[in-house]
């Protein structure tokens, strides 16, 4: 009897999970479908779901009209570079906060996080001015820098959380074994924190890849990543839904694939420390 109830419950929960999953992924699935339609079918009402003339035309046109690979490489450099730079800055910061905390460490951490609560538009003007002054407008270096700074609080917070899980005695053992501070971080702390560092890197690559406010506002033709590539198809006339969809699919596909293959690492990283 109990078994029967539990089977029915299981079925209900499974159904509910699938429903929620489909709801969440519906926009992406719809975008994917639309990217294979003609422009006319894309705006047809009522819309056809599967019974339309499947075409790769949009992808061809998009690739012809704008250089996908240039945007792609810009995205790779900006997302990768800002994450790498952020990690290099954040490891020493998180080390000091986790292992030699001062009286103000908690305050500093909270203050850093509070900068994420500030609307980005609030600092657009000063940052734009700085970019103009230093000649960083529409450069990949400028975007690497600004995205690194934007995501730094999150990187430091995540690393801090992982480092806190590492027993301080092991670092002390390294010190007793004659390791200098630099070697202690390089040979002992970093290898032990690799799972945590890996999930931090993944999350930040994803955040930087999808970042659209700064990448759109601070670039023009040269340094624009895939976000700018998508934006160039969202014209006010709104007649290019199919091409916009194709561009979107091309832009999100790499990061979706990366996320798919690393989802175990990501989930482990995000729930790290929650259960001992």
């Amino acid at each position: 009897m109990a078994r029967a109830v539990s089977t029915r419950r299981k079925a209900i929960f499974t159904l509910a999970a699938w429903t929620v999953g489909l709801l969440i992924s519906f926009p992406i699935l719809w975008t994917l479908l639309t990217s294979f339609k003609t422009e006319a079918e894309a705006v047809a009402s009522p819309p056809s779901v599967l019974l339309f003339d499947w075409t790769l035309e949009n992808y061809r046109v998009v690739q012809e009209r704008s250089d996908y690979w240039r945007h792609f490489w810009n995205s790779v450099i900006i997302a990768g570079g800002s994450t790498l730079l952020g990690i290099l800055v954040a490891i020493p910061a998180a080390w000091s906060m986790a292992f030699v905390p001062g009286r103000r460490t908690k305050d500093i951490l909270l203050w850093m996080l509070s900068t994420k609560m500030l609307p980005a538009i609030g600092v657009l003007y000063p940052i734009s001015l700085l970019f103009v002054r230093f000649g960083l407008l529409d450069t990949r270096a400028g975007l690497v820098l600004v995205l690194m700074l934007i995501n730094l609080p999150i990187i430091v917070w995540m690393l801090y959380t992982y480092f806190r899980e590492i027993p301080g005695e092991i670092l002390e053992a390294a010190r007793m074994d004659g390791a200098t501070l630099w070697k202690e971080v390089l040979y002992v702390l970093t290898p032990m924190a690799v799972p945590g560092i890996a999930s931090t890197v993944l999350l930040n690559v994803i955040l930087a890849w999808n970042e659209a406010f700064w990448t759109l506002n601070l670039t023009a033709a040269q340094a624009g990543p895939l976000t700018a590539f998508i934006a160039s198809y969202s014209s006010p006339e709104g007649l290019f839904f199919a091409k916009l969809s194709a561009a979107s699919v091309m832009a999100v596909a790499p990061i979706l694939i990366l996320g798919w293959f690393s989802q175990r690492q990501l989930v482990r990283g995000l729930t790290f420390g929650a259960v001992k």
């Binding site: 002390e172 053992a173 074994d177």
Partner: protein, 334 residues
């Protein structure tokens, strides 16, 4: 060489002073044990010597040189931690080799020393395993191996056996003592277990609330404890303390008598009471005697064959030459 001298060393965390200024000398080659209840500052004292904590005031001298400002890496001391503190991402071989790599020794020399240490510690078959694949006792051996390869001026042990089960603890205790006999290097060993202190030490330092209560050989501490605290801390089961009339008869505020220094009889004795709980160890039996009118319970150690039951009347006679006398302040009377 490994003489360690503390000169009016003190340590404060913020406003609270955990170690008031103290002086202590540990001779070269000595096995010194810091013992005391938890929170007595023994680990802090060890960490001050190691350099893992900065002294608030005073000096730490290692072989006559002032090491107070020298970082832990450069003090030529090796430490074994309670949690073993092995590097989980390195094989046993690389764990043991780590201090040698940090000292930039030659590859061949490193291999030679690691093999040698592994042979001494029975770790040769485990050199390519990770710490996670070893038992507690093996992990502790790796930690010791990592300490001995560097040939340090002194070894510091911070409660190294408290994570092991009882049987293993006895075995490792012997191994560490054996190691000391062979190397003759200074060792400082922190424990809260007075049995470890008694069995291993050349010199015991009894600490309470950061103060040194007494320094001496195990037998000195056992035979002439300087005060009530040391008298109660050293020896197992602990010493019986009696106040009042019985103490006054001996011209003291408190007298102390060890359980093993009391004779039992079913017919006559200086004191009498009723047998409460008996603990049978086979070789010995501990009787917890109640209603003696002296103290809540008096513990006596009798031969394992002596058969008193719960509730039996019992007579006790302390050996007069082994009664310890203390004044009202708890200090030993001559």
């Amino acid at each position: 060489m490994g003489e360690i001298v503390l000169e009016s060393v003190s340590k404060s965390f913020g406003a609270s002073q955990v170690i008031p200024p103290l002086d202590l000398t540990i001779e070269d080659g000595e096995f010194a044990v810091f013992v005391g209840p938890s929170g007595c500052g023994k680990s802090t004292l060890l960490r001050l010597i190691a350099g893992l904590e900065d002294v608030t005031d005073g000096q730490v001298l290692i072989d006559g040189t002032d090491a107070t400002e020298i970082p832990p890496a450069k003090r030529r001391l090796a430490m074994v931690f309670q949690s073993y503190a092995l590097y989980p991402h390195m094989s046993v071989r690389r764990n043991i080799a780590f201090p040698l790599r940090m000292a930039k020794l030659e590859r061949g020399e490193i291999d030679r020393r690691v093999e040698e240490a592994a042979a001494v510690l029975n770790l040769t078959d485990y050199l390519d395993r990770r710490p996670g694949q070893l038992s507690g006792g093996q992990r502790q051996r790796v930690a010791i191996g990592r300490a001995i390869v560097r040939e340090p001026a002194a070894f510091l042990f911070d409660e190294p056996l408290s994570n092991l089960d009882a049987a293993l603890r006895v075995g490792m205790r012997l191994e560490i003592s054996e190691l000391h006999e062979r190397l003759r290097t200074t060792m400082i060993y922190v424990t809260h277990d007075q049995v470890e202190a008694m069995t291993m030490a050349d010199k015991i330092v009894v600490l309470r609330a950061g103060h040194i209560e007494q320094v001496g050989s195990p037998l000195e501490l056992y035979r002439s404890p300087r005060n009530l605290f040391v008298a109660g801390f050293i020896g197992s089961p602990r010493m019986n303390f009696v106040e009042g009339q019985a103490a006054a008869e001996h011209g003291a505020h408190t007298i102390g008598i060890r359980p093993e220094h009391i004779a039992v009889s079913d017919s006559e004795g200086a004191w009498s009471g009723i047998v409460g709980v008996s603990e049978h160890l086979g070789s010995d039996t501990f009787f917890h005697v109640q209603r003696t009118g002296l103290a809540e319970t008096i513990t006596v150690r009798a031969d394992g064959e002596v058969g008193f039951r719960h509730g039996d009347p019992i007579h006790l006679t302390p050996r007069p030459d082994l009664i310890h006398r203390f004044d009202a302040a708890g200090q030993r009377l001559p």
